[in-house]
């Protein structure tokens, strides 16, 4: 469903992504790991069509982001890292806007979809509130609601559980896992238990390159008995505290 081939991105002289390749299929939940500044968000932004790559290609269900951006954007739900929205809009106004902009125009369908994501993301309590008055965690949930609203076949979630309380983290993981059956999901995270809990595959990027691409089981088997964050540290810490 998503094919990423040798994606590169430079910001001026800084090479943020230095050739990332992977393919994921329906049913997979890919955990995208790596230290701060590794290039996770940049890679995700290129797959969604927000940033154009310096070189390389990204395809979603066969559509190249660069030549068919609209086709790709229709099929992708994206939660940006900033989970930005429009502060003066209420949650319902905002979600209605996203639904309409995604081409859902029938009133019944809009209210069905909204009702569905509001329940899934536990937004009932705040649905009439303007987004600027929401706490960080609720804003994050609005961002998630917006990403799954059109039931996309590909979900790209940049740190979806960031800022959520432990109960919500659990709920959101359950939600993601529940949707995985007929979607391809890429999520970035710094929480390594999350990978064990829901991911079917792990990719670790470091300094713009893929250093690990395997199943969580194989990943743990690299060092039997060790905790997953120990292995992470060994793989990505080479030059930090040398």
């Amino acid at each position: 469903m998503v094919e990423v081939d040798n994606l590169k991105k430079s910001y001026g002289s800084l090479q943020a992504v230095k050739g990332v390749s992977f393919t994921i299929e329906k049913g997979e939940i890919l955990g995208f790991l790596g230290p701060n500044g590794a290039g996770k968000s940049t890679t995700m932004k290129m797959i969604t069509g927000y940033l154009s790559p310096t070189s390389g290609t990204a395809r979603v269900q066969g559509f190249d982001v660069q030549t068919h951006p609209i086709e790709v954007k229709k099929r992708v739900g994206y939660l940006p890292e900033s989970s930005a929205a429009y502060p003066e809009m209420t949650v319902v106004e905002f979600l209605t806007y996203v639904a309409e902009a995604r081409g859902i125009t029938a009133k019944d369908e809009i209210s069905d979809r909204l009702g569905d994501v509001i329940i899934k993301c536990h937004l009932q309590k705040v649905q009439g509130q303007t987004i600027e008055t929401l706490s960080k965690g609720y804003r994050q949930r609005v961002g998630l609601a917006q990403a799954i609203l059109h039931d996309p076949s590909v979900l790209i979630l940049d740190e979806p559980t960031d800022g959520l309380d432990p109960n919500q983290k659990y709920e959101v993981r359950k939600l993601i896992k529940g949707m995985a059956e007929n979607k391809a999901i890429i999520l970035s995270t710094h929480i390594l238990e999350e990978v064990e809990a829901i991911c079917t595959r792990v990719i670790i990027v470091d300094e713009g390159r893929v250093v690990v691409d395997e199943s969580p089981e194989d990943f743990k088997a690299r060092k039997p008995g060790a905790k997953i964050d120990e292995i992470f540290r060994e793989l990505t810490n080479k030059n930090s505290y040398a």
Partner: protein
């Protein structure tokens, strides 16, 4: 078209979701009607809006950039641009939708000043053709200024910078045809002076408020608007 509408609606209503829109409307109205009033609109015994129209470009110089500055700068600053650019909407639709929303807002501001025209019609017997073409000219010059403001707004994440730069550009474009510049231009060969005044917002505007809908003026405003919007689209495509 149906991808344009949701953004247009959201942007247009956005002006009324915070006090900013109301403040801009009120200030514009007070300035326009107030200036017309104090400079002898009611004393001149002429049943026309000439005095009002003569102020419009100068008020627009500030009012239009104030309306347009938020269009893109706000999205750039808050990061919501990322959301907008990952919706299945082409960049050109987004640019046009935002432009139309702001233009509609300006249309409302202009519409509110129609009270002046109605009073004029009540007190005298104005040339309605001239008034209509005058309002038409206002809409056109507003569109052109707005395309400049939208472009400036797309280039920064700071609304204040967008405002200042677009006021400067609009000011320069306007004075190209003013008396002040004309006196400078006098020293230039006539051919050059003519070329310069072809690019003058003020001269084309004045032609229309005199009641003449000239093709040159019409095409000038429409072309400049389209050109600035096209640059706006190119810039956002990065």
């Amino acid at each position: 078209m149906n991808t344009l509408l949701p953004i247009l609606k959201k942007e247009f209503l956005g002006y009324f979701r915070s006090p900013v829109g109301y403040v801009i409307l009120a200030v514009f109205h007070l300035l326009a009607v107030g200036l017309a009033f104090f400079s002898g609109y009611y004393r001149s015994n002429q049943a026309s809006l000439d005095i009002f129209f003569s102020f419009v470009p100068w008020i627009f110089l500030f009012f239009i950039p104030a309306t347009g500055m938020r269009l893109w700068a706000e999205e750039n600053r808050s990061g919501s641009i990322e959301l907008l650019m990952t919706l299945p909407i082409s960049i050109s639709s987004a640019v046009i939708a935002k432009f139309l929303a702001a233009w509609g807002f300006i249309g409302i501001a202009l519409g509110l000043t129609f009270s002046l025209a109605i009073t004029t019609g009540y007190l005298g017997d104005p040339d309605w053709g001239k008034i209509i073409s005058g309002y038409f000219a206002c809409l056109l010059i507003a569109g052109s200024f707005l395309s400049i403001s939208s472009l400036c707004s797309a280039m920064t994440k700071n609304q204040v910078i967008a405002f200042v730069i677009s006021v400067l550009i609009c000011f320069f474009a306007t004075v190209l045809g003013s008396q002040f510049l004309a006196s400078l231009v006098n020293k230039l060969p006539t051919a050059i002076a003519n070329v310069v005044s072809n690019f003058s917002y003020l001269i084309h505007f004045q032609t229309m408020t005199r009641g003449l809908i000239e093709l040159a003026a019409l095409s000038f405003f429409l072309t400049t608007t389209a050109a600035f919007l096209a640059i706006n689209i190119i810039i956002l495509k990065r």
